[in-house]
Symmetry: C2
Subunit: 295 residues, 2 copies
Amino acid sequence: MTEKVLASWKEGSARQAILDFLQATTTPGAAFVDVADRIATFDNDGTLWVEQPLPPQFDFVFRRWEEEVKADPSLAAQQPYKALIDRDREFFEGLAAQDPQVVATLLEGFARSWAGTTPEEFDAQVREWTRTVKHPTLGVPYVELVYRPMLELFDLLHASGFRVFVCSGGGRDFMRVLAEETWGIHKENVIGSAAAYTYADGKLVRSRTLLGSLDLGSGKPEHIFAQTGRLPVLAGGNADVDIEMLQSARFALLVQHDDEEREFSYTKGAEASLTKAEALGWTVVSMKNDWATVF
Amino acid sequence: MTEKVLASWKEGSARQAILDFLQATTTPGAAFVDVADRIATFDNDGTLWVEQPLPPQFDFVFRRWEEEVKADPSLAAQQPYKALIDRDREFFEGLAAQDPQVVATLLEGFARSWAGTTPEEFDAQVREWTRTVKHPTLGVPYVELVYRPMLELFDLLHASGFRVFVCSGGGRDFMRVLAEETWGIHKENVIGSAAAYTYADGKLVRSRTLLGSLDLGSGKPEHIFAQTGRLPVLAGGNADVDIEMLQSARFALLVQHDDEEREFSYTKGAEASLTKAEALGWTVVSMKNDWATVF
């Protein structure tokens, strides 16, 4: 490569830690990692793109549910529609906390809206959303709110013989629409929470049931193993629901949202992971101090 | 490539059909396929290696169950041990037919033997088996009974920009041990029936439950979609349990076991697929007439 690697990263300890780790794992020696084992995994919301004021997929889901309430106002009295209309943030945060009742209610809501759809139909809905919807305060389509430094890290990892996977609590099929164009990786490198599909009469159709665990917390290493047969050598995340994935990796990056000028500044949902980072020597990436360019 | 492609294939209609299809899909024109969509999937038992007198994984499983009966003779009276001791072929063929009772009994047997094991433990058991066990009549380790023409087809597909996946009713984790060394593909390119694993205390442990459907019949396109987000452009199989996968592909190869001299000659379990092949214009590969070399 003639271009500078990690060009949007400022010189500093985070950038250097990444370069040192990749140097060590790809050079004969004690820390060398076989090419076959070179798996890197990254959370999506808040790690690869903006997750404030809400993870973008919620925007997609909520628009659908608002349409459904418009078509049938009686839905407004029942969950998850009620939480949406009441702007009940606590309810939706119950998903990250894996509150069983919230999870069940949301899965029931997803099933109501999307069970019976084909991959092509769902894909078209997501594409329409990416094409037409803009972030409420930053004013550009969500796909323009992917962090450039992380895409450069993908490039460097690929050049170092790693296979890069995105592994998010969000919907696998939602994210796969973004895989090739936005991240430059194939759909099969995207891992996430997913409905089971059934194949009949030559057609795949989405069912009402979840396939395996939610891809959050301990579900992350479970999904990564199911998809790849391995645990990651390098992993990147930004939240408490990423802790198990980061612990399962040899090298962990934790993105810290501390840049209220260019992005957002918050630690909510990441308190435990920031504590772990210090205790376990994870590399904390300060968006403010480590990134010369964010988008 | 300077070496001849598909060198172990005889000149003939099967070889030519493959070359023509790959030419058409990779050259601008009506049949062109985007690189992102170039997925090829292959069944394992009977498509990539010998499945007579039994799919090799049964040999692995049966040896384990024989040891268990030796340690606890009372097991001999209960299924699936009884079927094993009685050499009850019909019972095990119920798996391919997805007889619900046989499936449940076998899954219970697998759970009894392997629930609670880590990936490293299971991997070591399979490696020991591949290293020490020989095919009962051909007298060589099973990994030497992989069909060379199919590995050459993998090479050609890779050279044509395809990602190659193995998709078998057999155990995903069993096959993944073979992936890199035997097939030259990564573990994440191996799809199969699989137990769910749980992650706790920094460790993955195999559970008692199946993750999703059995990877047989309609389960094959379901598993392929779950793993890759696509259906295959090209698929290869040899049995009735491959029909749905072959139908989901644009180009289907059906391996016909008609070479009793170099391999085995049988149509049992493939009757319906041979009829479909004729009706739908699939490319039938005669092991006897289309392959100059088998192993």
